[in-house]
């Protein structure tokens, strides 16, 4: 994603990662921790059992705001209408204080990115939206959103903040002692918490692991103190991008640029649940003609979970064959799932083979390995509802 000559960007926690002994790699243009000394397996398991701290500051948090905030429902509908020009979800009817996972679409209905859109809880904040996009796509996404908004609203890139995730069954208990006002949030709710020891923060109850947890946006100048405060709790350990990937893969979640991209639509990506009923009725989102047709007539191939039945992982790019030897698809993400204690994968297969339980073959190093289409997630989600 980055030219070798271009210096890598650093998050506000970069120095802390290095001090903690992280192995650093390029991701999305940033110099990021892939793992700490304990390694991916231990970090993965720690997150499932206790609480893991993830630096996700490389992602793109932002605020889209009308010139004047406040003005209740009408202001919200106005700002929602801007984003709805780009996504198939019902942002206008998002409840106050809720975030929604959705996708930016191009004119053909291809997925440009996946993102979170949040509607602030309070009346005096209506007309603003909290938007978080992916690291590698953020410049394009932000340009697209600002262009769509024109002079009606302004997109503010929160580059002066750090985004820190705390994930795992003990995340709530840890947060209770540091940001008690975040505890009442339930899954996919967010709120601003003012005047904390770490400045004004935004806490969202969400994540990318399948575990309960929070993502907290803090001012950059407080980021290291906040991370250190979390890490001072014996239940918290730092977790790198390696375990973040194995956790999300077990959670059945998409990684943009791998499992979804502009060649996929929400229907082929098995994300049709993002297309709300009202939007389907109105058919007023980008690529609606194609997507409505796909909803009605089906798609040639779709995203599914794939469970290799042996021990060998099947990596991205692995060909999927039917049992009678026809090429029916490809793995888009695959690896070893420490919690599953075996290989897990997702990919695209011809729709006629997409039913859960269908036996398939994976071609790994020239050999056919037995696998079957599996339901996702591979590890049940433990969200706080």
């Amino acid at each position: 994603m980055t030219e070798p000559s271009k210096p890598l960007l650093k998050t506000p926690l970069h120095a802390l990662h290095v001090k903690l002994g992280a192995r650093m790699v390029e991701f999305g243009g940033y110099d990021m921790p892939i793992q700490y000394p304990e390694g991916i397996m231990a970090e993965h398991n720690w997150t499932r059992q206790h609480a893991g701290l993830f630096d996700v500051s490389h992602m793109g948090p932002s605020f889209l705001s009308l010139p004047q905030l406040g003005g209740g429902e009408e202001a919200h509908r106005k700002v929602a209408a801007i984003v709805e020009k780009l996504v198939p979800s019902d942002i206008a009817r998002l409840a106050p204080g809720k975030v929604q996972l959705t996708v930016l679409l191009n004119e053909d209905g291809g997925i440009v990115d996946d993102l979170m859109v949040g509607r602030p809880p309070h009346d005096d904040q209506q007309g603003g939206l909290y938007i978080v996009v992916n690291a590698g796509t953020k410049d394009n996404d932000f340009a697209l959103i600002q262009k769509t908004a024109g002079s009606d609203a302004e997109l503010y890139r929160a580059d002066d903040r750090a985004l820190i995730a705390l994930q795992g069954p003990e995340a709530e208990a840890v947060i209770a002692g540091i940001l008690p006002d975040a505890v009442p949030l339930t899954f996919m709710q967010f709120r601003q918490i003012k005047d904390t020891p770490f400045g004004n923060v935004i806490a969202t109850r969400c994540g990318y692991t399948g575990e309960d947890g929070f993502e907290i946006l803090v001012p950059a100048e407080h980021a290291e103190a906040f991370a250190k405060k979390l890490l001072s709790d014996a239940r918290v350990k730092p977790i790198g991008l390696g375990a973040r990937d194995s956790l999300r893969l077990e959670g059945g979640m998409c990684l943009y640029g791998h499992d979804i991209d502009a060649t996929k639509t929400p229907v082929s990506a098995s994300l049709a649940w993002m297309i709300s009923k009202g939007r389907r009725d109105r058919g007023d989102f980008p690529g609606a003609q194609r997507i409505m047709s796909e909803l009605k007539n089906g798609v040639p191939s779709k995203r599914v979970g794939i469970k290799p039945l042996g021990r060998a992982p099947a990596r991205e790019g692995t060909e999927v064959h039917s049992v009678d030897g026809q090429v029916i698809g490809v793995v888009t993400s695959g690896g070893f799932g420490p919690t599953v204690n075996g290989p897990v994968a997702q990919g695209y297969v011809d729709t006629s083979y997409a039913k859960v339980g269908t036996p398939v073959k994976l071609i790994v190093r020239g050999k056919e390995l037995d696998a079957e289409i599996a339901s996702m997630p591979f590890v049940p989600a433990k969200y706080k509802r």
Partner: protein, 123 residues
């Protein structure tokens, strides 16, 4: 018994015309937790620097090359059953294969321990 090392981070310990081969502690550390290993069957012929085995960590698959040419005598089934042995004891219990050397002269191009340690310091 003499131990030789390759620039691809394999080791081979030689007694007579039989070599025991594995990956070095340096390689095991770089790979991280090993979760899957594919070894050649006994009887298979391998060529110096040719594919010999595959080792997979959580994150990625890596090839393991034959340090010398020869015939595979035995594969270590214990590491197939429990790949974590490779991380726990890469230059002992975590050995990969035993092979019969085809040409002992091929050993002369490999590094000794001192040279290998110096090489790792540059990696």
């Amino acid at each position: 018994m003499t131990i030789y090392y390759t620039s691809e981070h394999e080791w081979i310990s030689v007694e007579g015309d039989v070599g025991t081969v594995g990956i070095t502690a340096f390689a095991a550390g770089k790979l991280g937790d090993v979760v899957f290993i594919e070894l050649p069957d006994a009887g298979k012929k391998v060529k110096k620097e040719g594919d010999m085995a595959v080792v997979e960590s959580v994150k990625a698959a890596s090839d393991v090359y034959a340090p010398v040419s020869g015939d595979i005598l035995e594969a270590n089934a214990a590491i197939v059953d429990d790949p974590a042995k490779v991380n726990a004891d890469p230059e002992g219990e975590g050995w990969f294969v035993k092979l019969k050397l085809a040409n002992a002269g091929e050993l002369s191009g490999l590094m000794d321990k001192t040279a290998y340690e110096a090489f790792c310091a540059t990696q």
